[in-house]
Symmetry: C2
């Protein structure tokens, strides 16, 4: 009999780790506990089911518990809630929700992949049943049920981050009247205000009532209260971000870090040997600022899980860090960001400047060439690219991945000007939006 | 009075150099000689005018001679052919074609940007007037005139590279019956055969008669002769690649290199002090193989011109090299490549392997998720990415620019797995086609 790996949490982090560890160690015994009924689903796909683009929530499930058993020999226990971790005794206390009993499960290695929970600030009425978060498939099923039970409901989305935006568009597609209330001066708070403006314009063109600089003060029967009066609401969707679910880890005595996320080293090891964490419940390091950050994203969870799984399986891997990359769109207006904004760069101690260009995502002489506005944040002395933001039409935002590679490789804008990037008229101008921005940065240095 | 910079050739290389040099040195006297009537046009846009997507050839002109005069104080002489370079005497012999006179023009610095000419192999009948190359706006105007004078003509494109493909699609859009004859086993010869296959399928779906592995043996009145019989042809378009126009340089005694291209150093300086070259007429260095290559592309010409212009203007810049990046599409089938293929890697002395993945350019659960097939060529010992090829639907090919950045930064596939790339369902799967290919490469190493 091999070692036993216990997994807490049955989504990207948990199963990513489990399947990777399995590949390296065929003798590992793997047991995974998931509180809910589903495993390995794309939470990012929820807006597309709400909007009717994807026909059912089932389509978001990447692997069912049975598939995990069959393909990777993982003993999957859904509807099992881990209630405490005994680090000294190397065992878990687990509540079998279906049979209302508690079991003790010993482990040799433990992976904590408990994810995150939507923020629910202490606002009066926030616990009313029509105020919903969007995190699990159970949340999504409930939202879908409510949405389907109403004809053209009034939906208020609280929070103008990318989840809020995607849910707002989804409810418009479903025939709802939608308002988005955002406390700060602009939606997509991780971008500069002027870069987020075209997204707000696209939302308004879609008929969304965008209220920025407005704080929600309370909820009551079918209304959302703000400093500027009340908004009708049959349904409220919270898109205020998430916090790490680290209560179990904290109670067991594991060290926590930024925002209560579980502290891990570069191999995804927690402060206790044999205990690992990955995904939305743990910290990352920002590759540019060097600071510890908490980033809750499926992509990061997957990459951290890969690293944790390799290390648990007896291999060696490290997770270098994140850039805070994000991308989304409203209709055909796309937006993306990575690395540091000017403000973040200054705050991290960089002397930096920014440049912005306006170009197109196809040759300018082709009809309806979509626009692209690109901003680079560049270190003064070295010309090193520290961050990028893009807003524009079709084909604009995904160019952020080139900036991701360049920032990761610590390229200067001169390096970027010299990149032998692809060119043909349907794919961009001769100087691509990325290249032309690098060139402008060089000319103003 | 400042120094005089003379420029031979009025397209990307020539004017790119001139405008860049002007920015650094306001006192420079700049005179530019162009044999034809146009300056600074997008030759890559010609297929889109032929196809009717762009309404007129004028739209392809980025800057007219007058604009160059007004904005950059460049003395532009169109219809002026430089007939010889006197390196010892630092002067040019120039034929004023409009006035049938010859003038001598002294220079302090000289930039040769004479471009390239379409290959016209010595096949019987190749000089018949219905056999046309596509290089200058004059060529394009003539093609357009011929195409407009015929109703549903038979067009035979000789050569299945990207220019051949784009011209074939353009003539289909114009209502022609089109055949493409390619000597090698597949179109897009810089890709592996199986990666080019989906492009051939897309061409056939468009009604193009694709003949691979077939050599043209001659041309005669309204027919193209091959080993497998004759093809009807009212018009023949040559897409056989180009050769550098370096006759003037050679006659003056400048050193030539690969394929007769002008040899330059990293600052774009020729073998003679004060004489520079940029664009299709000169050599480059391949960033992966380290070999000298001749790549005729507008993007490369622009970047080389930037470097030449900075150096002529008194600054310092170097051109690191090229990756042989290329991109094109037929209808919605896109294809791109960069770096080395497996064959090229072996030929350059690398021990390398390749991996191929099939994924999608949006989340797989979204309707009609476009497919993406990605191939990486990876060095065995180091895991370093040496080359990439992509074929797929909308959004697939432009991802090649991420590979371009990674190859340039000498990243390993492990580095690429760790990239904090953007993700949202409309933009890709959780593991992007690039990331998933890197991951597969890691797992097979």
């Amino acid at each position: 009999m091999g070692k036993r790996l216990a997994i807490i949490g049955g989504d990207a982090a948990g199963f990513g780790t489990a399947t990777q560890a399995r590949r390296l160690d065929p003798n590992l015994e793997i047991v995974a506990f998931e509180q809910g009924a589903y495993t390995s689903y794309s939470a990012c796909g929820i807006p597309y089911v709400i909007g009717g683009v994807v026909p059912s929530l089932d389509r978001l499930v990447v692997r069912s518990p049975q598939e995990h058993r069959d393909r990777s020999r993982i003993d999957v226990r859904t509807r099992h809630e881990v209630t405490s971790i005994d680090l000294g005794g190397c065992k878990l206390e687990v509540r079998d929700l279906g049979h209302a009993r508690t079991i003790m499960v010993p482990f040799d290695e433990l992976l904590i992949g408990t994810g995150a929970t939507p923020l629910r600030p202490r606002i009066p009425g926030i616990d009313l049943p029509f105020v919903r978060g969007v995190q699990t498939l159970e949340d999504a099923a409930e939202l879908l049920r409510l949405a389907e039970s109403m004809r053209s409901p009034n939906v208020v989305v609280v929070g103008g981050g990318y989840i809020g935006l995607e849910m707002a568009e989804a409810f418009v597609q479903r025939g709802a009247r939608v308002a988005v209330v955002e406390r700060s001066s602009h939606v997509m708070g991780t971008l500069d205000a002027d870069m987020a403006r075209p997204i707000e314009d696209a939302m308004r063109r879609l008929g969304i009532d965008v209220r920025t600089g407005l704080e929600v003060t309370g909820f009551d029967e079918r209304e959302v209260q703000t400093a500027a009066g009340t908004l009708d609401a049959d349904l409220v969707v919270l898109g205020l971000g998430v916090r790490p679910r680290s209560e179990l880890a904290a109670a067991a005595g594991l060290e926590l870090g930024v925002g209560g996320a579980i502290r891990v080293d570069r191999r995804q090891r927690s402060s206790v040997e044999g205990v690992w964490a990955a995904g939305d419940c743990c910290e990352s390091v920002h590759l540019v600022s060097g600071r510890r950050v908490h980033v809750a994203l499926g992509t990061v969870a997957n990459r951290q899980a890969r690293v944790a799984g390799i290390n648990i399986g007896g291999g060696y891997a490290t997770f270098p860090g994140v850039l805070g990359t994000a991308i989304t769109k409203i209709c055909s207006t796309e937006v993306a960001r990575t690395g540091l904004t000017s403000g973040e760069a200054a705050e991290a101690g960089f002397e930096a400047f920014d440049v912005t260009t306006e170009s197109t995502t196809t040759a300018g002489y082709l009809p309806d060439a979509p626009r692209a506005r690109v901003r680079f944040v560049v270190e003064e002395r070295t010309g090193r690219l520290l961050g990028a933001q893009i807003v524009g039409g079709r084909g604009a935002a995904k160019r952020i991945d080139v900036a991701v590679a360049c920032i990761t490789a610590r390229m200067s804008v001169e390096d970027i000007v010299d990149l032998d990037s692809s060119y043909a008229p349907p794919f961009g101008p001769l100087w691509d939006p990325i290249g032309v921005t690098a060139r402008k940065a060089l000319s103003v240095r």
